[in-house]
Amino acid sequence: MPDLLIELFSEEIPARMQKRAAEDLQKLVTDGLVEAGLTYAGAAAFSTPRRLTLALDGLTSESKAVREERKGPKVGAPDKAIDGFLRGAGVARDDLEVRDDKKGQVYFAVIEKPGRMAADIVAEVLEKTIRNFPWPKSMRWGEGALKWVRPLHSILCILTDEAGAEVVPLDVDGIVSGNTTRGHRFMTPVAFSVVSFDDYEAKLKRAHVVLRADERAEAIWAEATNQAFALGLEVVEDRGLLAEVAGLVEWPVVLLGRIDDDFLGLPPEVLQTSMKEHQKFFSVKNPKTGRIERFVTVANMETADNGATILAGNQKVLSARLADAKFFWENDLRVAKADAGNGMKPWFDKLRDVTFHNKLGTQAEFINRMAVLAREIAPSIGADPDAAEQAALVAKVDLASEMVYEFPELQGVMGRYYLKAARYSDSVADASRDHYAPLGPSDDVPTAPVSVAVSLAEKIDKLTGFWAIDEKPTGSKDPFALRRAALGVIRLVHSNDFQLSLIGYFEKAFERHLAVPDYDGLPEPDLSDMLDRSIEAKAKLEQAKVDAENMVATAKAASKRFEDMQSIKSADARKTAAVGLISFFHDRLKVFLKDKGIRHDIIDACIAMPGNDDLTLLVKRAEALAATLATDDGENLIQGFKRANNILTQAEEADGVEYSYGAELKYAEEPAEKALFAALDAADAKIAPAMQAEDFSTAMTAMAALRGPIDAFFTDVQVNAESALLRRNRLNLLSRIRNICLSVADLTKIEG
C-alpha cells in the first residue's frame, strides 16, 4: 500500500486563495483516483505562499480489472441506433456479440477494463487536475498556454512503499515531475529531494518552511501574545488577519514595533483599520489605558540584526500611513467643529451628488426619507421625535468625510466622533455609529431609543424602496442585503420588546418614494451681477447654469423613477405591497424563530391571527403557543381541538348550517358535558381579558386547562345523539371549543 505525495510549487499564491486551493487539490485528486478504481486510507492537504501539497496514505497499488456487459439494440436495428450504442460503450462494431434474447437476437458489448498501476492513474489524474484547476483567477506566462494562479515551476509527485520512493512520471507542458522541491526563498533557496511525506515535512522545516498553515498561525499568535505580555500589553484578536498573515509567510518571524507618539491621539479604530488594511499589522493595546500603542508585524525572514532593519522600515511606512490618517482626521474635525451642530451641511451637501440607487435617488434623498420615518416611529418606541429626526439626518454624513472615503469600513464609527466634535448630543452621535447594526445574526442590537429609531428607519426605507422598484431578493440573489435588513428589523423590535404595527409605516414609506425630492439646500442661482463682465461674475453665471441644469436633471430623473413604481401608484396598491412586504418579514421570522426552536407550523398558526404586522406581539404569541404545546395538556388539547373541529365541520357541511350559537346548559345530560360547560365558562373568563392584555401565556394556559374536560367529554358523550335537540346542543358546544381555541391562535395550522 504506497503513500502518495504531491507538491505543486509556484510563484507566490495570493493568501486568500490558498486554503481553498489546498481543499480543491485534495478533492480533485482523490475523486479522480477513486473514480479510476483506487482507494486510500487517509488524505491531507497543505498550503504555503509558494506550494500546494497533498499527502495520501494507504493508496492501493493498482486498480482491479473490470468487466462490464451492456445490452444493446436488436440485430437489424437501424445503423444510427447501433452507432450510438457503440459510441456509448466505447467499442467497435466487430467487438459486439450477438446473443439470443426473449424477443430475438440482440447485440451485447463486453467492455473489459484491465487493472491499471496506481502510478499511471495518478499521473493521469494529476495532469487533469492541474489543467482544470478551479482558481478564481488564473494566468498564462512566457510562451506557454498552461494556466495557473501564477507561474508553476515544479511538480513533485512520488509514490512511496517499503521498497522506497518512486517518481510518478508526468510532463505538463514541459514541467516534468520529480522528487525535489525548494526551501525558503531567501533563507534556504536550495533544491533537495524527498522520499516520503514525513521526510518532506521535516526537510522543509530545516529549510525554513513551515508547511502547515495552522501551525504558522499558532506560532504567530503565541509569539505575538508573548511579546506583548512581556510589556504588559495585549494583542487585539483578529482571526481573519491571522489567517491572511499566515498565508503570506513560510517562516513567520514576529516583530513588535512602536507607534509614533504623534499618532496615539487618533481614534483606536482608525489606528487599527489603517494598520490592518494597509500594512497587515496586528494592533497591540495597553489594557490600562485602552489605547493602541504598539503593533505586531510578521516578517518572512530571520536576519542577522534580529529584524531591526525590517522593523525600522515597517515603522517608517506606518508613520507615513498614519500621517495620512491624521491629516484626514484633522481636516474632518475642522469641518465638524466649524459646523457646530448646523446639520453637518458641508458633508450633507456632498451627499446630494452621491447616488444611493439610480431608481431611488441620492444619498441625501434617502437620508431625508429616513429622517421623516425616524420621527414617525419615535413615539412608539419611547424616543424623542426631534432627536430621532435630527439623528437620522446626520447619521450618514460621515460618508462624505475624508476618513470614510479612505476607510469605508469606518462609516458610523467616524460619524460618532465627528458628531461629538460638532457638539451633538451623545444619543445623536451614538446613533450614527449604531444605526447600521445589527448586520450579522450575532451582532449586538442597539438599545438606545434614538439609535433604534434611526436603525429601523434606515432598514424600512431601504426595504420599501427596493420593494417599490421590484428589486426583491430571489433564490440566492440578494444584492441589496434585504433579507439581512428584514432580520435586523425583527431583532431590533424583538430584543427591545418594542410593539409596532409595521403596515402603516410601510404604506407611508411607499408614499414617500413617490414624492419629488425637495430642493431645499440646493444653491440658489446667484444672478445678482449678470451685467458685470468680471471673471468672478462669469464664473458665478456658469455655476448658476450648472445648478439649474442639475435641478432639472434631478427632477427629470425623479419623475422617470416614478414610472418604475407602478406597484405602489395607488393607495390600494400600496396596501397590497405593504402586506406583501409583511409576508417577506414573516418568512424571515420563521428562520429567526426556527433558530430558537419554534416550529414553522406554530408560527403559521400565529401569523394567521390579526395584528401580525406587530412582530414582537407575533413572537410572543408564538413563544407562548410553543411553550403550551410542549406540555402534555397542550399537546392533547390540540387533539381534542382537532376532533371537535372535524366533527363540527363535517356536521356543518352535511347539515348546511353553522352551529355557532346557543349551547345551553339545561340540555346537558351527562356529567362530563356539564363539566365542559363549566370549564368553558371558566376559560372564557380568563382568556378574553388575558388576550385583551396580550398576556398570551395566561390565555394559553387557560386554554390548555380545557384538555381534561374536552377529553372526558369525548370519552363519555356521544355528539351525534339520537335526539336532534341534544345533537344540536352538543355541536354548538363544540363550536364554543373551536371559538375559544381560535381566539388564541389558528390551531388548524398545527401539524400532527
Binding site: R140, E143, R150, F186, M301, I310, G313, D353
Partner: protein
C-alpha cells in the same frame, strides 16, 4: 553586496547598468506626457504580437491629481518610473528582479521582501494582468505584472512587466524622510543638488496650473481633437500612394491616444468631470487604445506576416 548608492541618479544608473547586463535594450523616455511607464509604446504596443522584446527605461510620469505643491513627503504630480518589459516573460523573472534590488543596495538577507497579490488593470488601455506589489519591509517598492491582455488583445506570448516607483524606492534606500531632501546627484560633488532644488518649484507651478488655472475649454477641445485625429489616422488606407507601400500609422495614432489620456487626467484634476462622465471619458480613451492595438498587430513590429 555592492555599496549603498548615494544619490537618486546613482540608483537610476545602477538599474540601467543592471538591466543592460541582463540583455534589455536601454531606451529613453517617451517624449510625451504620460501617466505611467506602461503608456510608453515600448510597453503598450510591444507587449502585443509574437515578436520577442526586452527593454528598460526611465519614464517621467505625470498625475495631475497627485500634486501637493511639493509639500507631501512622497506625493508628486511629476515623478519617475523605471520600467522593464520582457517578452516572453523569462522563467526566472522573479530572480532577475531580486537581483536588481541587490544592485541598488537592498540586501535581501537583512530585509523582508514579499510578493503580495495585486492584480493590475488599466481601464484606459483595455489591459490587465496578474502579479504582485512587491513589499520591502512593509513598503511597496514595485509592481510586478504578467500581462494577459492589452488593448483588448490576448498577450501571446505573455510579457513580464516590472515598474519601480523611483522616488519612493530611493527615499527608502537613501534613508531620507522627504522627497525634496533627497540628494539627486552625489552630495560630495562641488555642486550638490537635492530633488527639491530641481523639482520643488515646478511642483508648485504645476499644482497651481493643474488644479486652478488650466483652461478647461481648451483642454476639452484638445481631447476632441486628439480623439478625432487618432481616428482619422487609423482610417487612412494602409497603402501609402507616394511610397507605393503598406504603411500603417499605428504609432502616430497611438500618440494621439496618449494625448487624449493625459488631457483627460488634466480635466479630472480640474474637477470638471463628474462621476458619470468619468466612465464615458475612460471608455473613449479605451476605444482609441484598442483601435491602435488593432492597427499595431497588422504591422511588422506587431508580428504580422510580411
Amino acid at each position: 553586496m555592492p555599496e549603498k548608492p548615494r544619490s537618486f541618479q546613482e540608483i537610476i544608473l545602477r538599474l540601467q547598468t543592471y538591466w543592460a547586463s541582463k540583455g534589455c535594450a536601454i531606451l529613453q523616455p517617451y517624449d510625451m506626457e504620460v501617466g505611467a511607464g506602461t503608456f510608453h509604446p515600448a510597453t503598450t504596443l510591444r507587449a502585443l504580437g509574437t515578436k520577442p522584446w526586452a527593454a528598460a527605461y526611465v519614464q517621467p510620469s505625470r498625475r495631475p491629481t497627485d500634486g501637493r505643491y511639493g509639500e507631501n513627503p512622497n506625493r508628486l504630480q511629476h515623478y519617475y518610473q523605471y520600467q522593464v518589459i520582457i517578452k516572453p516573460s523569462p522563467p526566472d523573472l522573479q530572480e532577475l528582479y531580486l537581483g536588481s534590488l541587490e544592485a541598488i543596495g537592498i540586501d535581501a538577507s537583512l530585509h523582508d521582501i514579499r510578493f503580495v497579490e495585486d492584480d493590475w488593470e488599466s481601464p484606459t488601455l483595455g489591459a490587465w494582468g496578474l502579479g504582485w506589489e512587491v513589499w520591502c519591509d512593509g513598503m511597496e517598492v514595485s509592481q510586478f505584472t504578467y500581462f494577459q491582455q492589452v488593448g483588448g488583445h490576448d498577450c501571446k506570448p505573455v510579457s513580464g512587466e516590472l515598474t519601480y516607483g523611483l522616488e519612493r524606492l530611493a527615499i527608502y534606500i537613501l534613508g531620507v524622510d522627504h522627497v525634496m531632501d533627497m540628494p539627486f546627484n552625489d552630495p560630495q560633488t562641488p555642486i550638490p543638488l537635492t530633488y527639491g532644488d530641481i523639482f520643488k518649484q515646478t511642483e508648485q507651478e504645476y499644482a497651481r496650473w493643474n488644479f486652478d488655472v488650466a483652461d478647461t475649454a481648451v483642454l476639452l477641445q484638445h481631447f476632441e481633437d486628439a480623439e478625432a485625429e487618432c481616428q482619422r489616422i487609423l482610417d487612412m488606407p494602409a497603402e501609402d500612394p507616394k511610397k507605393d507601400m503598406k504603411i500603417i500609422m499605428a504609432h502616430p495614432a497611438y500618440d494621439q491616444c496618449i494625448k487624449a489620456s493625459h488631457v483627460f487626467n488634466l480635466l479630472d484634476a480640474r474637477g470638471v468631470i463628474s462621476v458619470t462622465e468619468r466612465q464615458a471619458y475612460i471608455g473613449r480613451v479605451r476605444a482609441l487604445a484598442k483601435a491602435c492595438a488593432d492597427a499595431f498587430v497588422q504591422t511588422d513590429a506587431g508580428g504580422a506576416a510580411a
